[in-house]
């Protein structure tokens, strides 16, 4: 059974149809990239998968571990193992980072019928993960994403991913707003999280991210459909020729 199966998915927001029948299957241990021009429906796809309010599925299905998630709320999908690394991580003024991270980890543990994590143990756990991502203690003490630089926000997303250990990670334009050095740190963090148990969907506009996070498959999204799929060389093709000519809607 595949980890994620998207079947003929149609979705709309505010009465505007955005996704016009997407089929995509991701197996455990696989990394798939979705590339596409602006307005092709990339972010919409990430929100529809994660169950954001206002994104209405009008046809098709999304199966996680063979089970439809369409009736599940966003938080249930999160606890079921879906993780979205946000393109624009949201600031939560006054909400302490440690308290937030711990609440998220505990929500998952509760769901799994396990004991909540002890505070001291948790701090150790976070520090260990944070170190590899170059996140300093000071940043962990600040409110969630408040006053973080673009690069810090993205590293913080990866930290959350490392702590929550999702079965499916969706990375929405994680490379946007990153300079070369930050891109390297974030990519290394992501690569460390690649595992035989985990699937990843990497959404990006540019090929450069895929030099660092090398995908097993690349899909081109245009006009709300996947117009072409291939191996990592497809990304290079796009880099050379642009999106033009890759599909009727592109």
């Amino acid at each position: 059974m595949s980890l994620l199966e998207i079947k003929n998915l149609h979705a709309r927001i505010n009465d505007t149809d955005i996704l016009h029948g997407i089929d995509l299957t991701i197996g455990r241990g696989e990394v798939h990239a979705i590339m596409g021009p602006n307005g092709s429906g990339k972010s919409t796809l990430s929100y529809v998968l994660s169950g954001r309010d206002g994104y209405e599925v009008t046809g098709g299905d999304i199966l996680l571990d063979g089970k439809s998630v369409l009736e599940m709320e966003a938080d249930e999908r999160g606890r079921a193992g879906m993780f979205l690394a946000f393109q624009y991580p949201v600031e939560l003024p006054g909400v302490g980072g440690m308290a937030f991270l711990r609440a998220a980890v505990n929500a998952r543990l509760r769901e799994a019928g396990k004991d909540e994590v002890d505070q001291l143990e948790f701090v150790k756990m976070v520090r260990a993960e944070a170190k590899g991502l170059g996140i300093k203690d000071d940043m962990l003490k600040r409110p969630v994403n408040v006053g973080f630089s673009g690069g810090e926000k993205k590293r913080y997303e990866i930290l959350q991913m490392a702590l929550l250990k999702p079965s499916l990670a969706i990375l929405d334009e994680t490379d946007s707003g990153l300079d070369v050095d930050a891109l390297k740190i974030v990519s290394e963090g992501v690569n460390l999280l690649r595992s035989a148990e985990r699937g990843m969907l990497v959404i990006t506009h540019y090929q450069r991210l895929l030099n660092h996070i090398v995908p097993d498959q690349v899909h081109i999204l245009a006009g709300g459909r996947i117009v072409k799929s291939g191996d990592k060389t497809l990304a290079l093709e796009v880099e050379e020729n642009g999106y033009a000519g890759l599909g009727d809607a592109a």
């Binding site: 954001r52 966003a74 938080d75 609440a103 929550l164």
Partner: protein
């Protein structure tokens, strides 16, 4: 060891030893319904009060007769029939719940969430219980320890008999009997409350809490509290509890007076969670409270911290009169309204002394169809040379059917005084909510986290044990308000 921890342990010991204590059912004489000079005489006689106290009450009553209820607050208060109220030892009405089965299920759910034991649930919900925890014994334990430090902490009715000079000197000196409609009513009919006296140079060895005070039943309606901190003394006082309390008495009109002499500091913290009524507000408490502190001495300090989540209607402005040179007044407030609740709350900082400083941090959270108003006065008088005030009022809206209002009044009669006011209004954004949900937090937990983040500056002013409970409480108060 922290004083509060000791306090809790001592209670546990005492409750363990006294767990078989039963309240004997003593038949009390009851004053008739309604208010008259005779009823006031009856109350005073019942309390074995001296003549001067009765005269004081009667004076207040005569003022009250000539006064009218305040109508300037942004509140919709249904008319109150003052002749339909029991002012002394109200008998249990037929409407009082006979078992928990008759209590609002929402209320019971909240008790469960807060982890309140069944017997205590019954007490809070106003259900008659056979065996209640004997508070007299506990209080006695504490009073011994306090007595060693020279601190007096007792029911005000006892203070009137035992320490008449102190009571006579200070009661009504901060909130005069004729101050306002509700304070005049309270002055005429108050049945009990707390009295605290901290002598010169004494730092009170524990946090004082009403929970440990010997209290008669049914005295919550017209409470009267007086706290006096002599030179260079310190006291921290906690009022209320996080559990929503039901009360048959719909009208609550308390008066609290604080007096801080030179270099003294009083920290007064409140968690108010009276029953807000059902979703239409029916059965909820009207909480019309007058709280005022006088910083009489130089460098004295009074700090009010309040977390207001309960009551159907709240009318409350804990204030400071900053008379002493370099005296300090602080007001930290979180007011949460949901459902049909209405709150008009804030503070008054009256600067009289040179170099006096005040800080106001108010966080209002409105949800449901509620209305939440911050109303505050900062007044710099002629002698308030180089005085300063900083005010920050933040409102957070949850949903789109509630109201948040900020009404600041500023008066400056001294050109060297500085007043700063900052105000913001915001909403819990869908972005913030989705971010939390995606991480696996359910909606209630997400809202609670975001709102507690919003209130953080105030919550950190609360004593530790109170703060943890209050955080939980804020989350619970906002349940079902999103989505």
């Amino acid at each position: 060891m922290v004083a509060t921890v000791e306090t809790i342990e001592a209670v546990e010991q005492a409750t363990g030893a006294y767990k078989y204590g039963f309240v004997t059912d003593i038949e009390t004489e009851k004053a008739p319904r309604g208010l008259s000079e005779d009823v006031i005489r009856f109350i005073s006689a019942k309390k074995l009060e001296p003549e001067w106290m009765l005269d004081w009450r009667l004076k207040a009553y005569r003022y009250w007769l000539k006064m009218t209820p305040p109508d300037w607050a942004k509140l919709n208060v249904p008319p109150i029939d003052y002749d339909d109220i029991y002012y002394y030892a109200a008998p249990k009405s037929a409407e009082a719940p006979k078992s928990l089965d008759e209590v609002d299920p929402e209320l019971l759910r909240t008790y469960e969430k807060l982890g309140i034991p069944l017997n205590e649930q019954k007490m809070l919900a106003g259900v008659a219980v056979d065996a209640v925890f004997d508070s007299v014994s506990v209080a006695t334990t504490f009073r011994e320890e306090l007595a060693k430090a020279g601190v007096i902490f007792c029911p005000i009715s006892e203070a009137i008999r035992e320490y008449p000079d102190l009571v006579r000197k200070y009661m009504g000196s901060v909130v005069p009997v004729s101050d306002n409609y509700f304070s005049a009513l309270n002055s005429a009919v108050f049945t009990d409350g707390s009295f605290v006296y901290i002598p010169d140079g004494v730092r009170c060895p524990m946090e004082l809490s009403t929970y440990f005070r010997i209290n008669e039943k049914n005295t919550g309606q017209f409470e009267r509290t007086l706290i006096i901190a002599e030179d260079s003394s310190y006291v921290s006082y906690l009022e209320g509890c996080t559990a929503p309390q039901r009360d048959e008495n719909q009208l609550h009109a308390a008066v609290v007076e604080l007096v801080a002499q030179a270099d003294a500091e009083i920290k007064y913290s409140t968690v108010q969670n009276w029953y807000p009524g059902d979703e239409t507000g029916k059965g909820g408490i009207y909480n019309f409270v007058t709280k005022r502190g006088a910083c009489r001495g130089d460098r004295s300090k009074i700090s009010w911290t309040q977390v207001e989540t309960g009551s159907a209607i709240t009318w409350k402005y804990p204030s400071c009169v900053l008379k002493g040179k370099d005296s300090v007044g602080e007001f930290y407030s979180v007011a949460v309204t949901n459902g049909a609740q209405q709150a008009d709350t804030g503070t008054k900082m009256i600067h009289l002394g040179e170099g006096s400083r005040s800080t106001i941090i108010s966080k209002g959270i409105s949800a449901g169809r509620s209305n939440n108003t911050y109303r505050g006065l900062v007044e710099m008088n002629k002698a308030a040379e180089n005085s300063r005030n900083f005010t920050q009022c933040d409102s957070l809206l949850v949903g789109d059917t509630c109201g948040a209002h900020t009404v600041p009044y500023m008066v400056s009669r001294n050109p060297s005084a500085k007043i700063e006011h900052e105000a913001t209004t915001s909403r819990i954004s869908e972005d913030q909510l989705f971010y939390c949900l995606q991480r696996g937090l359910d909606e209630e937990e997400a809202v609670s986290l975001i709102v507690n983040g919003f209130c953080k500056e105030v919550m950190k002013e609360l004593p530790m044990e109170f703060a943890v409970e209050a955080q939980k409480l804020i989350g619970i108060s906002l349940e079902g308000s999103v989505g």
